[in-house]
């Protein structure tokens, strides 16, 4: 049994909120550089160049990459031999988000009630997903999610008879409908299988996988590659203004499902696909 004071969680999450909103991970930067090299549209190349310049300014001048600094989505993978002390773990996570957004000059984009819509003023609460894993470590992923792309995300409850072609069509439909609204080039997170909520969670989680890492399942890896090619052949392009770079990656997660179902979720993220990861 290992004891961890929850203040350590608060401090880490605060720093990670600020880090994720100012610095993209190296895999995303490499994917943007590669896109700049291959984009065929002159305007598309100009936009990709501006996005590279934007990343540089963000890091050097500490201006958030995007003004939508997101709702803070946090994955907590907690070792089963960990014991938290010093207060509520959940309270400590929210406090880390509050401090990160208030002290880090990040935008407060969360409303208290979905219909009454008063701003909470500190970007809390966070969206927290816990999982219990072997070991005595805590792996924290902070993934601030902007809503331009979140709003274009979809869940499809397909029939088993729809098969792999049905799944591909659902994913392509979601991307085509998103078009310029989701700030392309985008990253496409997909969950296939499980239940209604499980596939949505997998789609979200898939976005946190580095864009240069493919699925470990051979047929899923093939599907990721085929879909990326087909999405980039749509012509939507950077900023939705035409071009050959519409997506930087398609990341798919799968899970066993019911004999009667084939759930598919598509969580779209813009090119500001933010995630900070730390192990405590």
């Amino acid at each position: 049994m290992r004891s961890i004071n929850v203040d350590i969680i608060t401090d880490n999450i605060k720093e990670m909120c600020i880090e994720a909103n100012h610095f993209l991970s190296s895999d995303m930067k490499c994917a943007m550089d590669a896109a700049y090299a291959t984009e065929e549209s002159p305007l598309g190349r100009q936009i990709l160049g501006q996005l590279q310049e934007n990343l540089q300014i963000a890091g050097e001048d500490m201006i958030p990459i995007c003004q939508d600094t997101g709702m803070a989505v946090i994955f907590m993978e907690i070792g089963q031999d960990v014991h938290f002390e010093g207060g509520s773990l959940e309270g400590a996570i929210h406090e880390g988000v509050r401090r990160g957004y208030v002290e880090g000059y990040l935008r407060k984009s969360v409303v208290k009630d979905p219909l009454i819509r008063d701003n909470t003023g500190d970007n809390t609460p966070a969206i927290i997903h816990y999982s219990i894993v072997p070991g005595d470590k805590v792996r924290i992923t902070v993934a601030p999610k902007g809503f331009g792309s979140e709003n274009m995300s979809r869940v499809f409850m397909l029939k088993p008879a729809d098969g792999i072609e049905g799944v591909k069509n659902a994913i392509l439909t979601a991307v085509r409908d998103a078009g310029p609204n989701a700030c392309p080039p985008m990253v496409v997170g997909v969950g296939i299988g499980g239940t209604f909520e499980k596939c949505a969670l997998m789609a979200k989680h898939a976005l946190s996988r580095p864009v240069d890492v493919s699925s470990g399942i051979p047929y899923v890896k093939e599907m990721e590659e085929e879909l990326l090619d087909r999405i980039n052949a749509m012509g939507i392009g950077p900023g939705g203004l035409g071009g050959t770079t519409t997506a930087l990656a398609v990341n798919i997660e799968t899970y066993p499902t019911h004999i009667a179902g084939l759930p598919v979720a598509v969580n779209i993220c813009c090119h500001v696909n933010r995630h900070a990861v730390r192990e405590v």
Partner: protein
């Protein structure tokens, strides 16, 4: 084609801009997004004046992140315009001449633009740090309680935008995608 245009936007300049033009805006624009539009509509429904005269104005659909000390504004890129589609035709009929945002618009907005000779510009989504460099000053002029969603008056210099829908209704999103679409 690159063009340098003064804002507020004159009727003549609005008519001269064509879908696909790369435009640098200099002058005064105003921010408003979801909550400010809802409040403006509620004011109009009650027969009240808007806090902002619309004639020849340009509205930027944007809610900035907070400014650090000594800076005009924080990150300041466009939000998705479609959420303002419900309100835009009314404002266009009151003289609004330009909108800056990103993403698709409805037919109703396009028709109101043609009717009033107005222009829809896109700024590059997700380039908020870069775009903030073209904003010289920012001042809240209405609805301060809305925080990031308050109406701000911005002074901009060579603020980069692209004409997506022009005053004749030509739509760059539709034409440019066809140009690069390849069947697989």
């Amino acid at each position: 084609m690159d063009k340098y245009v003064k804002v507020p936007l004159s009727d003549a300049d609005a008519k001269s801009l064509k879908a696909g033009d790369y435009v640098y805006l200099t002058g005064t624009i105003y921010t408003a997004r979801d909550a400010a539009h809802k409040r403006m509509q509620e004011s109009l429904d009650r027969g009240e004046q808007l806090p902002l005269e619309m004639q020849n104005k340009v509205i930027y659909y944007m809610g900035p992140s907070p400014a650090r000390e000594g800076r005009a504004i924080g990150s300041a890129g466009p939000t998705t315009s479609g959420r303002m589609d419900k309100y835009a035709p009314t404002l266009l009929d009151m003289g609004l001449k330009g909108m800056i945002g990103k993403g698709k618009r409805t037919e109703a907005v396009k028709e109101a633009m043609i009717r009033n000779g107005a222009v829809y510009f896109a700024a590059v989504g997700g380039a908020g740090a870069l775009l903030s460099k073209a904003i010289c000053s920012s001042e809240i002029v209405a609805y301060e309680d809305l925080g990031t969603e308050a109406i701000r008056k911005l002074e901009v210099k060579d603020f980069p935008v692209i004409v997506v829908i022009d005053a004749e209704g030509n739509n760059l999103y539709e034409t440019s995608i066809k140009q690069y679409a390849k069947e697989v």
